[in-house]
């Protein structure tokens, strides 16, 4: 009899707990737990700040339907693995890792947590539950080239690059294409800083460019130092990742702004509706999401410090890029040693962009290494 009672009791307890779990999960079911990993503290300019703005758009769009955890200041390397694993352990269903160097750590943790979705920003390696996202930054650089070509008086453009990797090189080449579309006499000199972030070195590189006669500066590094030097020395330049006009009200021509929000929102919606996928296929070099101006993932800030004629030309370039009228890397393309890259009538595909190891015509010098 006691045994029987025990059985009934345990049955009731079991069904009650199942019921509780069911109710619990239906109530909490709509709340998606989302994790973000940042390389630095967001501050109010540059790469991580752009991600912070994207995260804020997610908060605004979903409200209480998402629970967001953010870890800032995560160095690339073993620390990243620990942080990403911890976020996965805490039950985050989708985790955005927002720097190139988190690629291997993300893949490693993803293997341990097959049910968690990972979105790695700017990487190229994917797996079953790791998707990658990137922005076509080079489209903004084409417009920079157009403006630089029209604004330069010395026909010398100074460019500061972080590392000679495909992403930076395709930006320089897109800049050169824009430049040569309006000004065949101008050319670009490149200084590699060999760092993403060193304000003093970036400032030094800007000073050297100006001393060498450049009057328009462009950068693919993170700090506003270059624009501050341009402002001081009467040169002009372009903002990086976010609007930097506060640092250089007289020197910033415009900024290409990274807009991650729409991408984050779409991926979270896909997750909620069970449609999340990595979209991987043979042609997906930069990942399933490589959006640019058309997808609103890259935004061009106000054109300023230039005559209205130049601003109009810049706007035309922007519109044509959006409508697809301009194909930046359409043939005939010749590199700066005169070798033909691609004949007329053809154009480079995404794979060829990620394999770029040459400068196009209009860029001086050689890629180091």
């Amino acid at each position: 009899m006691i045994k029987f009672c025990m059985r009934i009791f345990s049955l009731v307890a079991l069904s009650a707990s199942v019921l509780f779990l069911l109710i619990n999960s239906t109530f909490a079911g709509n709340q998606t737990k989302v994790g973000f990993v940042y390389l630095t503290t967001p501050g109010d300019h540059g790469w991580t700040y752009a991600h912070e703005l994207g995260k804020q758009m997610v908060e605004k769009r979903f409200g209480d339907d998402v629970k967001i955890s953010v870890v800032e200041n995560v160095p690339e390397g073993p620390d990243a693995t620990r942080v990403i694993r911890e976020l996965a352990k805490q039950g985050n269903e989708i985790i955005f890792t927002t720097s190139f160097g988190y690629m291997e750590p993300t893949l490693k943790v993803a293997k341990e947590f097959p049910n968690v979705k990972f979105e790695h920003i700017t990487g190229y390696k994917r797996s079953k539950n790791v998707a990658t996202g990137n922005i076509r930054f080079y489209e903004g650089r084409y417009i920079q080239g157009v403006v630089a070509g029209l604004m330069t008086k010395t026909n010398k453009i100074g460019y500061i690059g972080a590392y000679p990797i495909a992403e930076v090189i395709m930006g320089i080449n897109a800049f050169a294409q824009g430049l040569r579309s309006v000004n065949k006499d101008a050319s670009i000199s490149v200084i590699w800083a060999n760092t993403w972030y060193d304000p003093v070195k970036e400032a030094d590189a800007a000073k050297v460019h100006i001393a060498e006669g450049a009057d328009i500066l462009a950068q693919h590094t993170d700090s506003p130092a270059m624009l501050q030097i341009a402002e001081k020395k009467g040169a002009l330049g372009f903002g990086q990742s976010t609007d930097m006009s506060a640092f250089a009200p007289k020197a910033q021509l415009f900024a290409s702004i990274n807009n991650w929000g729409p991408y984050y929102i779409r991926k979270i919606e896909e997750l909620k509706s069970g449609k999340w996928n990595t979209g991987d296929g043979p042609d997906h070099w930069a990942g399933n999401d490589w959006g640019g101006l058309k997808a609103d993932m890259l935004i061009i800030s106000k054109f300023q410090n230039m005559p209205s004629g130049v601003a109009q030309k810049a706007q035309e370039a922007l519109d044509s890029l959006k409508s697809g009228k301009i194909n930046i890397f359409a043939g005939p393309l010749v590199d700066n040693t005169g070798k033909e890259i691609i004949p007329s009538g053809k154009s480079l595909d995404d794979g060829a962009l990620w394999g770029m190891n040459y400068y196009l015509k209009g860029v001086n010098g050689k890629i180091p290494g």
Binding site: N73, V200, A205, A225, Q228
Partner: protein, 303 residues
């Protein structure tokens, strides 16, 4: 060319100041590896003060005070509590990196007026040289003044001889009756002051904004410079200019498309430091050391 020389000088000044301060600290027998941290706190202190008081000269004072504050923390631990100097110095840098990140958070995105150039009557009108040497900012003049003063101080003044005595053999100095701990405190704080002003130079002149870790390793180069200069003040000027010159030459080479890989140029200052170290250790073996003999050794006054 003139613009390039001016850039080289500007790049060298933070190194020059921080290395000079560290030289005095090390001459007293204290090895403070927290230079990077003290420079960072000088930078954040200076920027904060200028935003608050709207005068770049207060930035210099604030930078100096922030550096002294950090050096005092170091002194309390290493001189009074006799902790290991290497570990404490490294700890100071890590601590200051975090602290300045926290203190600097509200300053991010703000920009300040730069330190004005001071023209020296008549001298600044000399062609070329006038522009390069006599149209500098206050900190640049100050750093040269400090070098001249400490050269005299170490070589010819009695306090300078006492300082060196403390650094070379603290037991003997103690038994003669000199206050070893007090002297080391002063020397370390002087080092902190110089590093703080050197750090302040970055937001005050080079790039007028704050961002985390903006000294980007210059404190470590300053430490190498002291060794490179083999603890002789005027050699720091040479060393700082070589370090600065090679940094800029490396950038110019890229802009002009020189066929030398920029990595080789970047390597040069460190190669020079290693060579200097080798020569110095050669001299040590001849029993004619330039390294302060008690460098890095804690002093126990009960012995």
């Amino acid at each position: 060319m003139e613009a390039l020389i001016l850039t080289i000088i500007a790049t060298s000044i933070p190194l020059l100041l921080a290395a000079t301060g560290e030289l005095i600290t090390e001459k007293s027998g204290v090895l403070n590896l927290g230079v990077e941290g003290m420079m960072l706190s000088g930078a954040v202190g200076a920027l904060g003060a200028v935003l608050w008081l709207e005068n770049p000269y207060f930035g210099i004072i604030a930078g100096a005070l922030s550096g002294i504050l950090m050096a005092s923390i170091f002194s309390i631990f290493t001189i009074n509590f006799m902790t290991n100097q290497v570990a404490t110095g490294l700890g100071l840098t890590i601590f200051a990196t975090g602290l300045t990140g926290l203190a600097g958070a509200p300053l991010v995105g703000k920009t300040i007026p730069s330190l004005p150039k001071i023209e020296i009557f008549l001298l600044s009108d000399i062609p070329i040289i006038g522009n390069i040497l006599f149209k500098q900012d206050f900190i640049a003049y100050l750093s040269i003044a400090i070098i001249i003063i400490i050269t005299y101080f170490l070589k010819y003044s009695k306090p300078g001889v006492i300082l060196r005595a403390v650094g070379d053999d603290h037991q003997s100095a103690h038994s003669v009756g000199y206050p070893v701990k007090k002297i080391r405190w002063y020397a370390t704080c002087f080092g902190g002051m110089c590093a703080g002003i050197g750090g302040a130079y970055i937001p005050l002149v080079l790039t007028p904004h704050w961002s985390e870790g903006m000294t980007a390793g210059r404190g470590w180069i300053a430490l190498a410079l002291v060794v490179f200069a083999s603890w002789i003040p005027w050699r720091i000027i040479v060393g700082a200019l070589i370090f600065g010159g090679i940094t800029i030459a490396q950038l110019v080479g890229q802009a002009r498309g020189w066929p030398i890989p920029s990595q080789i140029l970047s390597m040069m200052p460190y190669l020079a430091t290693i060579i200097a170290l080798t020569i110095i250790s050669g001299r040590i073996s001849k029993n004619n050391s330039v390294v302060p003999a008690s460098l890095g050794k804690p002093f126990f006054d009960t012995q």
